[in-house]
Symmetry: C2
Subunit: 404 residues, 2 copies
């Protein structure tokens, strides 16, 4: 019997498609293309030798070779509880900390724990694709609220609620939004937390980039203001993705529910990579210096990118303020369609992700996401020169003003 004749797959797969970002990454891997399309931190800045030393020392203990507990390796949860207590300005107990296989796993387990089929989920527009994918796969009804320079338009969320919609979950990337680049203002944070309490919905505050600020620290987390806010963070952007260490801070009853699902999902994480993360996160002096270096390098790259865009395009391509994180969101004010631009850009040797890939309600046809983390400033300058060449070849459509 040939493979094609084996039994059918589940019906819901018909509605799932591969992540646009992942498919694009495959297309833009050509060596002569400068890719701003990726979303990866720079491996050259990751502490390989420090991780090797931590692995060597961890492996003296047989417990590190064994299965570990579903909510995470005990010493890691202790260290995270300490860090999060400092971040949230209140004592966070170990029972409120749950370690996941990257924060993507926290999103997927939370979708199961918090959502009944057909539940309403509010995301930001443009949206983090990994969240969209999870909420759609969970059978949620997804509605989008746009971003502006202060982050999520909480006033529009409130209008939606006033019109009778009842969200179960509101998802926000509060700091250095992917893809939008913006950071939610303190007053929006307070308003969002207050709305969550008033209307009894959960907020998932997804914060993988918060420590990558360039000039000044990010505002207090949304989770500071209410236990209705579940905070997600990750070691991927400050240490290394290979550790697959993300975590959530959530009320104990949420952590207990997530634990039940984690057992079925994959039993537990890796005690080895979690012990490595423990050692590196606990060494606060080393970690502080390490993150400072990453910030400094990324800041120089972000500035180089934004400056080159301003020099080449002036007001025709408006960038989000590159004040941290990994991405710049830029919108053409002259009507250039970025999806149409991409093949020409690839021809001139530069790649980006068109805004359309992140669009939920607004089309974002004139926008694009550019990742500045992995190229040197001069390479970013060359990328923008190539982009200008591609734009010069493009027919300019009717003007439309930027929305972000």
């Amino acid at each position: 019997m040939p493979d094609e004749e084996t039994a059918p797959l589940a019906g819901k797969l018909a509605g799932l498609t591969s992540s646009a970002i992942r498919d694009l990454l495959k297309l833009t891997a050509a060596p002569d293309v400068i890719s701003l399309a990726g979303g990866l931190p720079d491996a050259a800045l990751m502490p390989g030798p420090r991780i090797a030393a931590a692995a060597e020392s961890a492996l003296h203990s047989p417990a590190v070779l064994q299965y570990t507990e579903s909510p995470g390796w005990g010493p890691l949860r202790d260290v995270l509880a300490g860090r999060e207590s400092a971040r949230l300005g209140r004592p966070v107990g170990v029972g409120e900390v749950f370690v996941t296989h990257g924060s993507q796993q926290a999103l997927s387990l939370l979708a199961e724990v918090l959502l009944d089929p057909g539940a309403l989920v509010v995301v930001e527009d443009p949206a983090y694709i990994g969240a969209l994918q999870v909420f759609r796969a969970a059978g949620a009804q997804v509605v989008a609220v746009p971003l502006d320079s202060e982050g999520m338009r909480v006033d529009l969320l409130e209008e939606l609620i006033a019109a009778g919609r009842r969200p179960a979950v509101v998802h926000t990337v509060s700091n250095f939004h992917n893809p939008g680049g913006v950071t939610m203002s303190p007053r929006r944070r307070r308003a969002l937390a207050a709305a969550a309490e008033k209307h009894r919905f959960w907020v998932i505050e997804d914060d993988p980039y918060g420590e990558l600020w360039f000039d000044r620290p990010t505002p207090e987390p949304v989770a500071t203001y209410s236990p209705a806010v579940i905070r997600l963070s990750s070691a991927s952007k400050i240490l290394a993705p290979t550790l697959r260490v993300g975590w959530m801070v959530a009320p104990k009853r949420v952590c207990r529910a997530v634990e039940l699902l984690k057992q079925g999902a994959d039993l537990c994480g890796s005690a080895l990579t979690q012990q490595i993360a423990t050692e590196l996160l606990a060494d606060t002096e080393w970690l502080g210096g390490h993150i400072d270096t990453v910030r400094r390098v990324y800041a120089a790259r972000a500035t180089a990118l934004v400056d080159a865009v301003t020099d080449e395009f002036g007001d025709r391509l408006r960038c989000s303020s590159a004040s941290g994180g990994m991405f710049v969101w830029a919108e053409f004010t002259d009507g250039t369609d970025t999806t149409e631009l991409l093949p020409r850009a690839l021809d001139t040797g530069v790649a980006f992700v068109p805004g359309q890939a992140f669009a939920v309600a607004t089309p974002y046809s004139h926008a694009m996401r550019m990742c500045f983390t992995t190229a040197a400033p001069e390479v970013l300058g060359e990328a923008v020169t190539r982009l200008a060449r591609a734009v010069a070849q493009a027919p300019v459509a009717a003007g439309q003003s930027a929305q972000l």
Copy 2:
């Protein structure tokens, strides 16, 4: 607002409970209890120094620090395709190999890929609890077919189908069953594969223990006989659980569907632990010697346990033949109820898992699972002495013959 007043959790959580095994593990961790209740391989036999050396060498490459591809680290998939080609006696392509975070993750992703809500899943009775949990969480209808000394009663599966039931998936632990201890005979394997083709259902052949044979190798995998059989295996029992490396061999269209769900579930595995697994699995000479050692040690422990049971209980407690794997399944023929026995056994200083914990249709009230992997032969002897003491204190119920 106190935590209790935050928004509700999903309705389906009401039906989920923690794994009985995991809860028991917590109760039996007292230092004066000899626990045969666990299900862990022996960490003292795991190759810690070899893993440390592989980690050190892997970390010279920055790619090992980065995100990796959702279907797994390329070099690991290559090595696994080679191993599985040898095991299955046909060329297995890399596109048919998918690396998961332990084989538990393969089960949970396959449940999503293969099952529509309400689909019929056939499991073995007694059942692997981790599979039961996943299929129930997926909203499947679970029906059990008993084991005997030749493994799954495929004849009863065929009766079920003849009576009009239409399984979407049949799950089997083909070698050294957890908890049943038995290995499916070659003729049952062929019959199961033929039924899968005839009636167009999927078989998930879950095989974490197949390499841990004591006297002679296990029969050809069920997957040898049909592409309708998806084969799962794992590095947890031959190398170390901390690597979180499991894998499946499945038709390409199944692997592509699993990839879409893996992206949402956790993006990808750890390139570091997957590269460690690559190096250790590729060093076939070293690996052969290492697995031989594990086999020899486990075989001595299994023999010590079964001999002690025979010496103490004679025909009153019948054991499965301990020919490999990690578990002995034993049934009291004198009517002793193992759930009632457990508290008294804990008092005398020995723990096991009552058969009830694995029961689906048959109650298995007189049966128990004993894990022989982590105690020395003399400790296992002492465990059986304590068990006999506990039984001597127990009221003997009306006799009932063993079912396995």
